[in-house]
Subunit: 206 residues, 2 copies
Amino acid sequence: MKPEIPVVLPHRGPALHERREQIIRAALDHFRHYGYSKTSVADLAKAIGVSSAYVYKFFESKQAIGEAVCMHSLGQIDDALREIVHTNQSASDKLKELFSSLLSKSLALFFEERRLHDIAAVAATNHWSSANNHRAALYSMLKQIIVEGREKGEFESDTPLDEVCMAIAGVMTPFSHPLMLEEKTPEQLEERVLVITNLVLRSLAK
Amino acid sequence: MKPEIPVVLPHRGPALHERREQIIRAALDHFRHYGYSKTSVADLAKAIGVSSAYVYKFFESKQAIGEAVCMHSLGQIDDALREIVHTNQSASDKLKELFSSLLSKSLALFFEERRLHDIAAVAATNHWSSANNHRAALYSMLKQIIVEGREKGEFESDTPLDEVCMAIAGVMTPFSHPLMLEEKTPEQLEERVLVITNLVLRSLAK
Protein backbone atom coordinates (compact mmCIF):
# COMPACT_ATOMS: atom_id res chain seq x y z
CA MET A 1 0.00 0.00 0.00
CA LYS A 2 1.41 3.32 -1.03
CA PRO A 3 1.67 5.99 1.63
CA GLU A 4 -0.74 8.84 1.01
CA ILE A 5 1.12 11.84 -0.23
CA PRO A 6 -0.63 15.15 0.45
CA VAL A 7 -1.41 16.84 -2.83
CA VAL A 8 -0.41 20.47 -2.90
CA LEU A 9 -2.51 22.38 -5.39
CA PRO A 10 -0.92 25.35 -7.11
CA HIS A 11 -2.10 28.55 -5.47
CA ARG A 12 -4.68 30.19 -7.71
CA GLY A 13 -6.23 33.04 -5.77
CA PRO A 14 -8.32 32.77 -2.59
CA ALA A 15 -8.69 29.43 -0.81
CA LEU A 16 -11.85 27.51 -1.60
CA HIS A 17 -13.70 28.33 1.62
CA GLU A 18 -12.88 31.99 1.08
CA ARG A 19 -14.28 31.80 -2.43
CA ARG A 20 -17.44 30.29 -1.02
CA GLU A 21 -17.73 33.11 1.51
CA GLN A 22 -17.07 35.61 -1.26
CA ILE A 23 -19.95 34.23 -3.33
CA ILE A 24 -22.29 34.36 -0.30
CA ARG A 25 -21.29 37.96 0.43
CA ALA A 26 -21.82 38.95 -3.21
CA ALA A 27 -25.19 37.19 -3.16
CA LEU A 28 -26.26 38.90 0.07
CA ASP A 29 -25.28 42.20 -1.46
CA HIS A 30 -27.12 41.53 -4.74
CA PHE A 31 -30.23 40.14 -3.05
CA ARG A 32 -30.32 43.25 -0.82
CA HIS A 33 -30.14 45.59 -3.78
CA TYR A 34 -31.99 43.82 -6.54
CA GLY A 35 -33.93 41.05 -4.81
CA TYR A 36 -33.54 37.30 -5.06
CA SER A 37 -35.61 36.76 -8.17
CA LYS A 38 -33.84 39.46 -10.19
CA THR A 39 -30.34 38.19 -9.43
CA SER A 40 -28.78 35.53 -11.67
CA VAL A 41 -25.78 33.30 -11.06
CA ALA A 42 -24.11 35.16 -13.96
CA ASP A 43 -24.55 38.47 -12.05
CA LEU A 44 -22.80 37.03 -9.03
CA ALA A 45 -20.01 35.52 -11.11
CA LYS A 46 -19.44 38.85 -12.82
CA ALA A 47 -19.41 40.70 -9.48
CA ILE A 48 -16.52 38.65 -8.18
CA GLY A 49 -14.77 38.31 -11.53
CA VAL A 50 -15.18 34.60 -12.22
CA SER A 51 -17.22 32.50 -14.66
CA SER A 52 -20.69 31.14 -13.89
CA ALA A 53 -19.26 27.64 -14.30
CA TYR A 54 -16.83 28.42 -11.48
CA VAL A 55 -19.68 29.51 -9.18
CA TYR A 56 -21.48 26.25 -9.96
CA LYS A 57 -18.49 24.36 -8.55
CA PHE A 58 -19.50 25.73 -5.14
CA PHE A 59 -23.26 25.84 -5.41
CA GLU A 60 -25.29 23.59 -7.63
CA SER A 61 -28.03 26.17 -8.25
CA LYS A 62 -29.15 29.71 -7.44
CA GLN A 63 -31.43 28.21 -4.81
CA ALA A 64 -28.40 26.65 -3.11
CA ILE A 65 -26.86 30.13 -2.93
CA GLY A 66 -30.15 31.49 -1.59
CA GLU A 67 -30.15 28.79 1.07
CA ALA A 68 -26.63 29.72 2.11
CA VAL A 69 -27.61 33.40 2.38
CA CYS A 70 -30.68 32.53 4.47
CA MET A 71 -28.66 30.19 6.65
CA HIS A 72 -26.25 33.05 7.26
CA SER A 73 -28.93 35.65 8.12
CA LEU A 74 -31.13 33.38 10.23
CA GLY A 75 -28.03 31.97 11.92
CA GLN A 76 -27.17 35.50 13.08
CA ILE A 77 -30.62 35.82 14.66
CA ASP A 78 -30.20 32.46 16.37
CA ASP A 79 -26.80 33.41 17.74
CA ALA A 80 -28.20 36.62 19.23
CA LEU A 81 -31.18 34.82 20.76
CA ARG A 82 -29.02 32.07 22.21
CA GLU A 83 -27.35 34.66 24.41
CA ILE A 84 -30.68 35.28 26.14
CA VAL A 85 -30.81 31.65 27.26
CA HIS A 86 -27.49 32.04 29.05
CA THR A 87 -28.22 35.24 30.98
CA ASN A 88 -28.97 35.32 34.71
CA GLN A 89 -32.62 36.34 34.40
CA SER A 90 -35.55 34.26 35.62
CA ALA A 91 -36.96 31.79 33.09
CA SER A 92 -40.05 34.01 32.74
CA ASP A 93 -37.93 37.01 31.83
CA LYS A 94 -35.90 34.93 29.39
CA LEU A 95 -39.10 33.84 27.70
CA LYS A 96 -40.31 37.44 27.45
CA GLU A 97 -37.02 38.53 25.96
CA LEU A 98 -36.92 35.59 23.58
CA PHE A 99 -40.33 36.55 22.17
CA SER A 100 -39.67 40.26 21.88
CA SER A 101 -36.16 39.84 20.45
CA LEU A 102 -37.39 37.29 17.94
CA LEU A 103 -39.93 39.82 16.75
CA SER A 104 -37.56 42.78 16.60
CA LYS A 105 -34.77 40.83 14.90
CA SER A 106 -37.13 39.25 12.39
CA LEU A 107 -38.61 42.65 11.58
CA ALA A 108 -35.12 44.12 11.16
CA LEU A 109 -34.06 41.32 8.84
CA PHE A 110 -37.18 41.18 6.73
CA PHE A 111 -38.12 44.84 6.56
CA GLU A 112 -35.14 47.05 7.09
CA GLU A 113 -33.49 44.74 4.59
CA ARG A 114 -36.63 44.80 2.54
CA ARG A 115 -35.25 42.80 -0.36
CA LEU A 116 -34.22 39.94 1.89
CA HIS A 117 -37.83 39.56 2.90
CA ASP A 118 -38.61 37.96 -0.47
CA ILE A 119 -36.03 35.25 -0.15
CA ALA A 120 -37.04 34.58 3.45
CA ALA A 121 -40.66 34.19 2.34
CA VAL A 122 -39.60 31.67 -0.30
CA ALA A 123 -37.49 29.84 2.28
CA ALA A 124 -40.30 29.70 4.85
CA THR A 125 -42.97 28.64 2.37
CA ASN A 126 -40.84 26.00 0.70
CA HIS A 127 -39.35 24.62 3.90
CA TRP A 128 -35.77 25.31 2.92
CA SER A 129 -33.38 23.70 5.34
CA SER A 130 -32.34 27.19 6.52
CA ALA A 131 -35.92 27.86 7.67
CA ASN A 132 -36.17 24.41 9.23
CA ASN A 133 -32.86 24.91 11.06
CA HIS A 134 -34.07 28.25 12.39
CA ARG A 135 -37.27 26.65 13.64
CA ALA A 136 -35.28 23.84 15.28
CA ALA A 137 -32.90 26.33 16.91
CA LEU A 138 -35.82 28.32 18.35
CA TYR A 139 -37.45 25.13 19.62
CA SER A 140 -34.30 24.07 21.36
CA MET A 141 -33.85 27.48 23.08
CA LEU A 142 -37.47 27.43 24.16
CA LYS A 143 -37.10 23.94 25.60
CA GLN A 144 -34.01 24.95 27.59
CA ILE A 145 -35.90 27.88 29.11
CA ILE A 146 -38.94 25.76 29.98
CA VAL A 147 -36.82 23.00 31.54
CA GLU A 148 -34.95 25.61 33.56
CA GLY A 149 -38.22 27.24 34.69
CA ARG A 150 -39.53 23.84 35.80
CA GLU A 151 -36.35 23.00 37.66
CA LYS A 152 -36.37 26.35 39.44
CA GLY A 153 -40.02 25.86 40.35
CA GLU A 154 -41.16 28.87 38.32
CA PHE A 155 -43.31 26.85 35.89
CA GLU A 156 -45.83 24.06 36.32
CA SER A 157 -44.54 20.56 35.56
CA ASP A 158 -47.81 18.66 35.14
CA THR A 159 -48.16 19.03 31.37
CA PRO A 160 -45.83 16.91 29.22
CA LEU A 161 -42.75 18.98 28.34
CA ASP A 162 -42.97 18.30 24.62
CA GLU A 163 -46.61 19.37 24.49
CA VAL A 164 -45.79 22.66 26.19
CA CYS A 165 -42.83 23.34 23.91
CA MET A 166 -44.75 22.46 20.76
CA ALA A 167 -47.61 24.74 21.76
CA ILE A 168 -45.37 27.70 22.60
CA ALA A 169 -43.35 27.21 19.41
CA GLY A 170 -46.63 27.28 17.47
CA VAL A 171 -47.72 30.45 19.22
CA MET A 172 -44.37 32.09 18.39
CA THR A 173 -44.53 31.30 14.67
CA PRO A 174 -46.32 34.48 13.58
CA PHE A 175 -43.51 36.55 15.10
CA SER A 176 -40.80 35.02 12.97
CA HIS A 177 -42.66 34.29 9.77
CA PRO A 178 -42.02 36.79 6.95
CA LEU A 179 -45.52 36.44 5.49
CA MET A 180 -47.21 36.97 8.84
CA LEU A 181 -45.02 39.88 9.83
CA GLU A 182 -45.93 41.91 6.79
CA GLU A 183 -49.64 41.89 7.54
CA LYS A 184 -49.43 44.11 10.60
CA THR A 185 -47.61 47.28 11.53
CA PRO A 186 -44.60 46.91 13.85
CA GLU A 187 -46.65 48.66 16.57
CA GLN A 188 -49.48 46.15 16.24
CA LEU A 189 -46.97 43.30 16.33
CA GLU A 190 -45.27 44.66 19.44
CA GLU A 191 -48.58 44.94 21.24
CA ARG A 192 -49.53 41.47 20.15
CA VAL A 193 -46.24 39.88 21.17
CA LEU A 194 -46.70 41.39 24.62
CA VAL A 195 -50.22 40.09 25.21
CA ILE A 196 -49.34 36.67 23.80
CA THR A 197 -46.23 36.39 25.96
CA ASN A 198 -48.39 37.19 28.98
CA LEU A 199 -50.88 34.52 27.92
CA VAL A 200 -48.04 31.99 27.63
CA LEU A 201 -46.71 32.95 31.07
CA ARG A 202 -50.19 32.54 32.59
CA SER A 203 -50.37 29.09 30.98
CA LEU A 204 -47.04 28.18 32.62
CA ALA A 205 -48.03 29.35 36.11
CA LYS A 206 -48.19 26.74 38.85
CA MET B 1 -94.48 69.30 -1.18
CA LYS B 2 -95.45 66.64 -3.65
CA PRO B 3 -96.27 63.23 -2.28
CA GLU B 4 -93.68 60.65 -3.26
CA ILE B 5 -95.02 58.39 -5.92
CA PRO B 6 -93.41 54.94 -5.97
CA VAL B 7 -91.70 54.39 -9.29
CA VAL B 8 -92.48 51.03 -10.84
CA LEU B 9 -89.75 49.97 -13.20
CA PRO B 10 -90.71 47.82 -16.17
CA HIS B 11 -89.86 44.17 -15.48
CA ARG B 12 -86.79 43.24 -17.48
CA GLY B 13 -85.67 39.81 -16.32
CA PRO B 14 -84.50 38.93 -12.80
CA ALA B 15 -84.76 41.51 -10.03
CA LEU B 16 -81.56 43.42 -9.30
CA HIS B 17 -80.67 41.57 -6.12
CA GLU B 18 -81.15 38.29 -7.97
CA ARG B 19 -78.80 39.47 -10.71
CA ARG B 20 -76.24 40.34 -8.09
CA GLU B 21 -76.55 36.86 -6.57
CA GLN B 22 -76.28 35.36 -10.03
CA ILE B 23 -73.01 37.18 -10.68
CA ILE B 24 -71.62 36.02 -7.32
CA ARG B 25 -72.63 32.41 -8.03
CA ALA B 26 -71.03 32.54 -11.49
CA ALA B 27 -67.90 34.06 -9.96
CA LEU B 28 -67.71 31.40 -7.24
CA ASP B 29 -68.08 28.77 -9.92
CA HIS B 30 -65.41 30.30 -12.17
CA PHE B 31 -62.97 30.98 -9.34
CA ARG B 32 -63.36 27.35 -8.24
CA HIS B 33 -62.60 26.02 -11.69
CA TYR B 34 -60.12 28.45 -13.13
CA GLY B 35 -58.87 30.48 -10.18
CA TYR B 36 -59.33 34.15 -9.35
CA SER B 37 -56.48 35.50 -11.43
CA LYS B 38 -57.51 33.63 -14.59
CA THR B 39 -61.13 34.77 -14.51
CA SER B 40 -62.11 38.05 -16.17
CA VAL B 41 -65.26 40.12 -15.76
CA ALA B 42 -65.96 39.31 -19.43
CA ASP B 43 -65.95 35.56 -18.61
CA LEU B 44 -68.53 36.10 -15.91
CA ALA B 45 -70.69 38.30 -18.12
CA LYS B 46 -70.61 35.67 -20.85
CA ALA B 47 -71.50 32.89 -18.40
CA ILE B 48 -74.74 34.59 -17.40
CA GLY B 49 -75.48 36.00 -20.84
CA VAL B 50 -75.07 39.73 -20.21
CA SER B 51 -72.52 42.36 -21.22
CA SER B 52 -69.46 43.26 -19.15
CA ALA B 53 -70.87 46.78 -18.85
CA TYR B 54 -73.95 45.30 -17.20
CA VAL B 55 -71.81 43.44 -14.64
CA TYR B 56 -70.01 46.69 -13.85
CA LYS B 57 -73.36 48.20 -12.82
CA PHE B 58 -73.28 45.83 -9.86
CA PHE B 59 -69.58 45.63 -9.09
CA GLU B 60 -67.11 48.35 -9.85
CA SER B 61 -64.21 45.93 -10.42
CA LYS B 62 -63.21 42.29 -10.43
CA GLN B 63 -61.84 42.81 -6.96
CA ALA B 64 -65.28 43.91 -5.79
CA ILE B 65 -66.68 40.62 -7.11
CA GLY B 66 -63.83 38.77 -5.40
CA GLU B 67 -64.71 40.54 -2.15
CA ALA B 68 -68.34 39.49 -2.48
CA VAL B 69 -67.34 35.87 -3.08
CA CYS B 70 -65.02 35.93 -0.05
CA MET B 71 -67.68 37.57 2.06
CA HIS B 72 -70.05 34.76 1.07
CA SER B 73 -67.59 31.92 1.82
CA LEU B 74 -66.19 33.34 5.05
CA GLY B 75 -69.71 34.30 6.12
CA GLN B 76 -70.69 30.63 5.88
CA ILE B 77 -67.81 29.70 8.19
CA ASP B 78 -68.85 32.41 10.64
CA ASP B 79 -72.47 31.22 10.64
CA ALA B 80 -71.41 27.67 11.42
CA LEU B 81 -69.05 28.79 14.20
CA ARG B 82 -71.66 31.07 15.74
CA GLU B 83 -73.78 28.01 16.50
CA ILE B 84 -71.04 26.74 18.82
CA VAL B 85 -71.39 29.86 20.98
CA HIS B 86 -75.07 29.08 21.56
CA THR B 87 -74.77 25.42 22.55
CA ASN B 88 -75.09 24.18 26.14
CA GLN B 89 -71.47 23.16 26.57
CA SER B 90 -69.09 24.62 29.12
CA ALA B 91 -67.13 27.67 27.98
CA SER B 92 -63.97 25.52 27.85
CA ASP B 93 -65.62 23.04 25.52
CA LYS B 94 -66.96 25.86 23.36
CA LEU B 95 -63.48 27.26 23.05
CA LYS B 96 -62.08 23.87 22.09
CA GLU B 97 -64.77 23.41 19.47
CA LEU B 98 -64.32 26.94 18.16
CA PHE B 99 -60.61 26.30 17.55
CA SER B 100 -61.01 22.88 15.98
CA SER B 101 -63.98 23.89 13.81
CA LEU B 102 -62.21 27.02 12.64
CA LEU B 103 -59.32 24.85 11.51
CA SER B 104 -61.42 22.19 9.80
CA LYS B 105 -63.70 24.66 8.06
CA SER B 106 -60.80 26.83 6.93
CA LEU B 107 -59.01 23.77 5.57
CA ALA B 108 -62.15 22.65 3.76
CA LEU B 109 -62.64 26.06 2.19
CA PHE B 110 -59.06 26.68 1.20
CA PHE B 111 -57.93 23.22 0.20
CA GLU B 112 -60.83 21.06 -0.86
CA GLU B 113 -61.79 24.10 -2.87
CA ARG B 114 -58.20 24.52 -3.88
CA ARG B 115 -58.81 27.36 -6.31
CA LEU B 116 -60.55 29.46 -3.68
CA HIS B 117 -57.40 29.37 -1.61
CA ASP B 118 -55.76 31.89 -3.97
CA ILE B 119 -58.47 34.46 -3.58
CA ALA B 120 -58.55 33.97 0.19
CA ALA B 121 -54.79 34.53 0.32
CA VAL B 122 -55.18 37.77 -1.62
CA ALA B 123 -58.02 38.82 0.69
CA ALA B 124 -56.05 38.07 3.86
CA THR B 125 -52.83 39.70 2.69
CA ASN B 126 -54.51 42.82 1.38
CA HIS B 127 -56.92 43.23 4.29
CA TRP B 128 -60.03 43.02 2.16
CA SER B 129 -63.07 43.93 4.18
CA SER B 130 -64.25 40.30 3.90
CA ALA B 131 -61.13 39.15 5.75
CA ASN B 132 -61.49 41.96 8.29
CA ASN B 133 -65.15 41.07 8.87
CA HIS B 134 -64.20 37.44 9.40
CA ARG B 135 -61.57 38.45 11.94
CA ALA B 136 -64.07 40.70 13.71
CA ALA B 137 -66.69 37.94 13.76
CA LEU B 138 -64.21 35.49 15.29
CA TYR B 139 -63.16 38.07 17.87
CA SER B 140 -66.73 38.68 18.90
CA MET B 141 -67.47 34.94 19.30
CA LEU B 142 -64.32 34.50 21.31
CA LYS B 143 -65.24 37.39 23.57
CA GLN B 144 -68.71 35.99 24.20
CA ILE B 145 -67.21 32.65 25.24
CA ILE B 146 -64.62 34.27 27.53
CA VAL B 147 -67.23 36.51 29.19
CA GLU B 148 -69.47 33.50 29.72
CA GLY B 149 -66.59 31.46 31.17
CA ARG B 150 -65.79 34.30 33.56
CA GLU B 151 -69.40 34.68 34.64
CA LYS B 152 -69.72 30.93 35.24
CA GLY B 153 -66.50 30.97 37.25
CA GLU B 154 -64.70 28.67 34.80
CA PHE B 155 -62.05 31.23 33.82
CA GLU B 156 -59.89 33.65 35.76
CA SER B 157 -61.06 37.27 35.77
CA ASP B 158 -57.89 39.05 36.89
CA THR B 159 -56.49 39.84 33.43
CA PRO B 160 -58.20 42.60 31.46
CA LEU B 161 -60.82 41.05 29.18
CA ASP B 162 -59.59 42.80 26.04
CA GLU B 163 -56.03 41.67 26.63
CA VAL B 164 -57.14 38.06 26.96
CA CYS B 165 -59.30 38.24 23.84
CA MET B 166 -56.60 39.93 21.78
CA ALA B 167 -54.04 37.34 22.81
CA ILE B 168 -56.30 34.36 22.05
CA ALA B 169 -57.35 35.87 18.73
CA GLY B 170 -53.66 36.26 17.86
CA VAL B 171 -52.97 32.67 18.81
CA MET B 172 -55.87 31.50 16.61
CA THR B 173 -54.72 33.36 13.50
CA PRO B 174 -52.53 30.60 12.05
CA PHE B 175 -55.57 28.28 12.01
CA SER B 176 -57.63 30.49 9.78
CA HIS B 177 -54.98 32.09 7.61
CA PRO B 178 -54.68 30.60 4.12
CA LEU B 179 -50.93 31.21 3.87
CA MET B 180 -50.21 29.62 7.24
CA LEU B 181 -52.48 26.65 6.63
CA GLU B 182 -50.66 25.59 3.50
CA GLU B 183 -47.32 25.21 5.24
CA LYS B 184 -48.30 22.18 7.27
CA THR B 185 -50.16 18.96 6.65
CA PRO B 186 -53.72 18.74 8.05
CA GLU B 187 -52.46 16.18 10.58
CA GLN B 188 -49.75 18.52 11.83
CA LEU B 189 -52.30 21.32 12.07
CA GLU B 190 -54.76 19.18 14.02
CA GLU B 191 -52.08 18.19 16.49
CA ARG B 192 -51.01 21.80 16.81
CA VAL B 193 -54.52 23.16 17.30
CA LEU B 194 -54.99 20.66 20.11
CA VAL B 195 -51.84 21.56 22.03
CA ILE B 196 -52.42 25.28 21.54
CA THR B 197 -56.04 25.03 22.72
CA ASN B 198 -54.78 23.26 25.84
CA LEU B 199 -52.21 26.02 26.38
CA VAL B 200 -54.97 28.63 26.09
CA LEU B 201 -57.16 26.74 28.55
CA ARG B 202 -54.29 26.53 31.04
CA SER B 203 -53.80 30.28 30.66
CA LEU B 204 -57.50 30.81 31.48
CA ALA B 205 -57.50 28.60 34.58
CA LYS B 206 -58.22 30.24 37.93
